[in-house]
Each structure stands twice: as structure tokens, then as C-alpha cells.
């Protein structure tokens, strides 16, 4: 990324190339391992703990326009150390959760920057350079092409994201700053995750090792789901993936997963952990709801898996040719026709 001001790096630390940043600061990992730098390691660790718990790190400061030079270093270095720690744990759930939360943090900053005349071009450039999406400005609105818009918006299930509920003209969709950045959250998250994945791991200083171990311990809290089976229909797979990413799945999507898996003979106890990563997870309510759906509590009615048609109308259907000829997800794989 060309010509990034240091202030921008504090907000978007993933734009910094780790090795280069350290070199420019005259630092090496060995330096950071020295006890003088322990606060950075602690800050990095804290950053991960906050992020993986589903919150957004540093959320008080989105309105803050300027960081002083020390703060900038703190911000960028703690991010760099954080991704080194994450890479060392080699646990996907942690990296994914961290990336998503950091993406949401960047999203907030991008939104603020889009609203300021001086910064709007820089923000649009980030979007353009990282994700090849052209966004145009029209007064205080943002225009994204219809194809670029629907490719992202179909992953959201709220009605207001449907194209029919947007202002559309000449091949462009009108958006406000908030909506514009919301649309690229997943891509931001993937980008940050890719930074972790592609990191060349140097030998770790001693002071890092303890925190890596702490993170491994922390990760036990989050279940890595083992439920994805290639036998599942695309709609069910999609739902599981959304939950895995720690993103929100609407009620209708959770209902699909629950009824489908119950119909395949899984128990409430087997299914419940699937929802653990949801931002609003609560063990008691989840169990209660699952028991209700399974018919083992309340009215005793066992709920059936919704039809493909119903799911299609709720934008939850992701049909592939393997879905040919079925009308309910539970039939998936049974009726496979030979073309």
C-alpha cells in the first residue's frame, strides 16, 4: 500500500508489513523479547483476549482523530506481536476470531474516515487496493456497482440488504458510510487472517512463550466444530460456516440447522456446541430452544426441517447441481440422479 501515514497505521495496522515496520523502527524480535518491551507483549496478548471474546479492542477510541508518536508505535507493534503470537499457537479458531474482531475495529475507523472529506479518498483507496472494489462518492453517499454489491450483500439475511430494498440507478447501489464498510467486513477479516497465515515465523523470544501457552489454554474455551460433513446439503454447510466464523446467523438459519441435524439423528447435546461461536451465545437458552424444536419440551411438537422453497425465499438456499430434484434438505444425497 503506497504512502500510508503513520496515523493510518495505528488505525489499520494490518497495512504495515511486519518485518519492514520493525526494521524502520530499528527493532528486531530480539529487542521485543527484552523486558523493556514487555508492555507491548502484554498489550498484544490483551488485544487477542478482547478480540477472541467477541468484543472490539480499543472501542472507546474510534472518535479519536490523532494518535501521538508513541501511541502509534504501541498500536502497530502490539498488532504485529499479536499476529506473531497467534501464528505460534497455530490454532485456527483463535486467528479467525481475532481477524473478525480486528476487521470490525478497522470497519469503525473506515466508517469515520469515510465521513471526513479529508480522509475519504484514502479510505476508498484501501477498499480499492485490498479488495478491488470501486466505490464512488456522490455527496455524502457511496456508490457500489450492482454486481459487486449483490456478491457481498447476499451473505446478509436481513431484508433491507436485498437489492429491491436499495436505491439503485444506472448499475449502482447507493450506500451510506456504515453500509459500505459493513459490506467488506468479511473480506477485511479474511485479509487480516491471511496476514497471520502468511507470516514467516521467527524464533520466539522467551518472553513470548508464556503468552503463547496461555493462548493455547484460552482456545480450549472455543470449540472447533467437527460437524461439517460433505454429506450435508449446501444450505446446512453454509449455516455451519457462518457460525464457525463467529458471524451472526439469523433465527431462520439456526432453525434450519437444528431441525436438519435433529432429523439426521443428532441429539440436542451434540448440536448445542455448534452455536458456541455465535456472538450472542448463551448455553441455557440455546439448549432450551433446541429442546423445544426437538419436541422434548413444551408442546411436544417436533418441528420439521423447512422446505427448499421456504429456504429459497429466506435467501438461505445455496443450491448446487446435487440439489436437483429435491424439495427438502433432508432428501439431499438420497435422491441423487445420474445425469
Amino acid at each position: 500500500m503506497s504512502q500510508i501515514g503513520t496515523h493510518e497505521l495505528a488505525k489499520y495496522p494490518f497495512l504495515a508489513e511486519a518485518g519492514e515496520y520493525l526494521r524502520n523502527a530499528g527493532l528486531s524480535l530480539d529487542h521485543l523479547g527484552h523486558s523493556d518491551w514487555q508492555p507491548i507483549v502484554e498489550k498484544a496478548y490483551g488485544r487477542i483476549v478482547v478480540a477472541t471474546s467477541g468484543q472490539i479492542y480499543d472501542s472507546q477510541r474510534f472518535e479519536k482523530i490523532d494518535y501521538d508518536a508513541d501511541e502509534i508505535d504501541m498500536e502497530v507493534l502490539s498488532f504485529i506481536v499479536a499476529i506473531i503470537l497467534l501464528k505460534s499457537t497455530n490454532i485456527n479458531t483463535l486467528a479467525r476470531r481475532f481477524s473478525l474482531s480486528e476487521a470490525r475495529r478497522a470497519e469503525k475507523h473506515l466508517e469515520n474516515d469515510l465521513k471526513q472529506n479529508k480522509k475519504v479518498n484514502f479510505s476508498l483507496k484501501i477498499i480499492q487496493e485490498l479488495f478491488s472494489i470501486q466505490v464512488k462518492v456522490d455527496n455524502d453517499e457511496f456508490l457500489m456497482s450492482v454486481p459487486a454489491y449483490v456478491q457481498r450483500a447476499v451473505h446478509f439475511h436481513e431484508k433491507e440488504w436485498k437489492l429491491v430494498n436499495r436505491r439503485v440507478s444506472n448499475g449502482f447501489v447507493y450506500l451510506n458510510a456504515h453500509e459500505t464498510v459493513r459490506l467488506i467486513r468479511t473480506e477485511l477479516g479474511e485479509y487480516i487472517n491471511s496476514r497471520i497465515k502468511s507470516l514467516d515465523l521467527p524464533p520466539l523470544p522467551e518472553s513470548f512463550v508464556q503468552r503463547v501457552n496461555d493462548l493455547v489454554e484460552l482456545a480450549k474455551k472455543f470449540s472447533e466444530t467437527t460437524y461439517i460433513s460433505s454429506e450435508y446439503p449446501p444450505c446446512v454447510k453454509h449455516g455451519i460456516e457462518v457460525l464457525e466464523k463467529g458471524e451472526n446467523l439469523p433465527h431462520s438459519g439456526r432453525f434450519l440447522l437444528a431441525t436438519y441435524l435433529l432429523s439426521k439423528g443428532q441429539t440436542v447435546d451434540q448440536i448445542a456446541p455448534l452455536f458456541k461461536n455465535a456472538p450472542d451465545y448463551n448455553e441455557r437458552t440455546t439448549k432450551y430452544q433446541l429442546e423445544h424444536i426437538s419436541g422434548s419440551s413444551g408442546s411436544g411438537t417436533k418441528y420439521q426441517c423447512p422446505s427448499c422453497e421456504k429456504l429459497r425465499s429466506e435467501s438461505l438456499c445455496f443450491a448446487t447441481p446435487d440439489c436437483d430434484g429435491i424439495i427438502n434438505p433432508v432428501q439431499f444425497g438420497k435422491k441423487r440422479k445420474n445425469p
Binding site: 449483490v150 433491507e160 436505491r167 435467501s315 447441481p321
Partner: protein, 374 residues
Amino acid sequence: MIEKDVLLITSAFKEYYFNRFDLIHVPQRATEREFGYQKFNSGMTRHLVVKNDKELHLLLMKEVPSDVYCSNAYYTFPNLPMAEKDWKGADLIFDIDAKDLALPCRKDHTVFKCSSCDNHATEFQSQCTKCGSTKFETVSVGCKNCISESKKEVTKLVDMMTTDLNVSKEQIEVYFSGNEGFHLRVTNADYEQLGSQERADLVDYLMFNGAIPESFGIKRQDNSKSSLPTFDEKGWRGRVARKLFSSKSKAPKATREIIASGYSAFQVQLEEIKKTMGVRVDPKVTMDIHRIFRLEGSINSKSGLSKIQCTNLDSFDPFLEACLLGDDTVDIIADCPVQIRLKNKKFGPYHTERVSLPKYAAVYMLCKGLGNAV
């Protein structure tokens, strides 16, 4: 279908395929597409590669298919099984079928065929008058009104594609489907990449499915904060405004009334607007990015008419321009209780009688199951 009928129809098709090479071409980027065909009384042959017009003509002459198809999708390996084809993109396609429009004229040109005996009736009956069976198949014959209403849908679709979605007129090809409707193909690189889900959302836009009052300024809670779009707005907001207020000057009064009637009343109005202004296409066709779609220039075995491009939609008369089979006379036993019009001539009604008809009309009745070869 019985063998005698197949013979008569196949010979008519063969003659057409032999004489009209000028009308039958592979679409652009043919080598990246999957072809398929069907023969009477047998299954589908798919996953074929047809590189150019010459290969296509050869295939038609050799196989004389009842129906020929070609993918809207582009693949790296079109001849491999679906999972290995490597999907690269697909034209946007639309299917507008008169039968989905449920027009009042349908009952005047629909025939009920008893599934157990050979009895044909023009009125719906709960039981066959001959054998008492309760199972019927329906066939519908060509109707001017159905065609002209379908054309209106085509026009609406083309308008929305060009104004709202920025597709140029040159990128939209309109075809008569060969039976009772129209097919559209849009070749626009920006839309080519879209997956099934995205296409479904585009279709909902065009059909005006899933619109919520909030998008048009009507609030569920605080009614006093509601406002409606204005006459000159772009896209659906403008269309809805123009529909709600018949003129600009009536807008302020109408706005007050609509807001006063509240959220659910407005929801009902949106449903109404969807019925009259939404484009009625078959969403499944547009969503399917692996479909093989009827090939232009080929004959539709449901009617014996050809799928051909309409360069001038307004004046296009499918029962003249797409009726391209020979006109030498053949004898058939016709059981066609409704009158049909082809090439500006009227035929029937016939009640299980032997008649001499031009080949195109005879084949039309055979294809519809309203006659048999002698």
C-alpha cells in the same frame, strides 16, 4: 410418443435442419459451453462439446434431436462431468412463459386430455365423461393475447435492465422460446461472474419480491416520521411513486393519505405493485448457473415451432415467423377441440377426424398431443 408420430415429426425436423443452416448457429464462445440434446422417447445426452456451426449441423443431421440445448455457462472443460467442468461464468438468462402469467384467456385455449383414455375436453371436468378417470393433462395451444402479454413482460424487463442495472440494449438478446413465451440472454461481463444466490437477488429485484415499506419511507413505529419517494427518483422508488400518485400535483395529498393509512396498508399496496409492475420471470431458470438452455435456431418439440431471435419485438408474430416447417400436405387424425392459427391460417376444431393439413400444422398438433399420424 407412438412410433408413427415420431417418424412423421422427425422427418419434418430433419427437413428443417437440412434446409435452414442459415438459421442455426452456435452461440459466441461456443467451445467453452456444454451442449446437450434429446431424442423422442429417450433421455438426455449432455456434456457435449460442439465447436462450430459445421459440427452443430452435422450433429443435427445425424441425430435429428427432438430438442437441442446449450449451457449459458462457460467452462474450462465443458465435456467433463459437472464437478470437474470448472465453471468460469455464465450469461444471465431469463425465461418468460405465458403459462406463468395466468391470464383469463388461458381457459379458451387449454385442452384437458384424460390420462387414462384418449378423451379430450375444452372445459375442466372433475371426471372424464368417457371413462370416469380423475387424472388429466393439460395442453395449451398458441394464443395471440398470451404472446402480447408476454411481450409486455419482456419490455418491462429490458427497461429495468437498461435503466436500473446499466446493461446496454446491445447486450440483451430476445428470443421467442419456440412455444409460449420468450427467452432473454444478457451477455455482460460484470454480471457473468454472479453465482446462483446473487442471481436470485437480481430476480427478486426485477420481480419486486421482498420489498419492505421501510425502503419507501414508511415507518412501522413512528408514523409521523414517514415520507414517500418522489416522482423523479430512480429505480423502484421512482416507479412506486409514479404508481401511487398518478400525477406530480396529486403527490402531496396522496402522500398524506398513504402515510395516514399506516404500515400494513402500505404493505398491501406493495403486494399490488408487485403483481402489476414486477416482471414475471421464472426465477429457477435465472438462478441455475449450470442449466442447458434451448439453443436458438432449434425446434421446440412441444410445438414444432423454432426458437428464434426477435429483432423487432413489437411486430413479431411467432405463429408466422417461427413456424418454419414445410407446407406440403400430410394426413393425420386430428383430435383438436380448439381452433389453432398458424401462418395466418385457421385450423380446426377437429374431433377425431382424418384431415389433410400442411406439414407445419400437422406436426404442431402431433407435438401437442392433439393428433396422430395415420
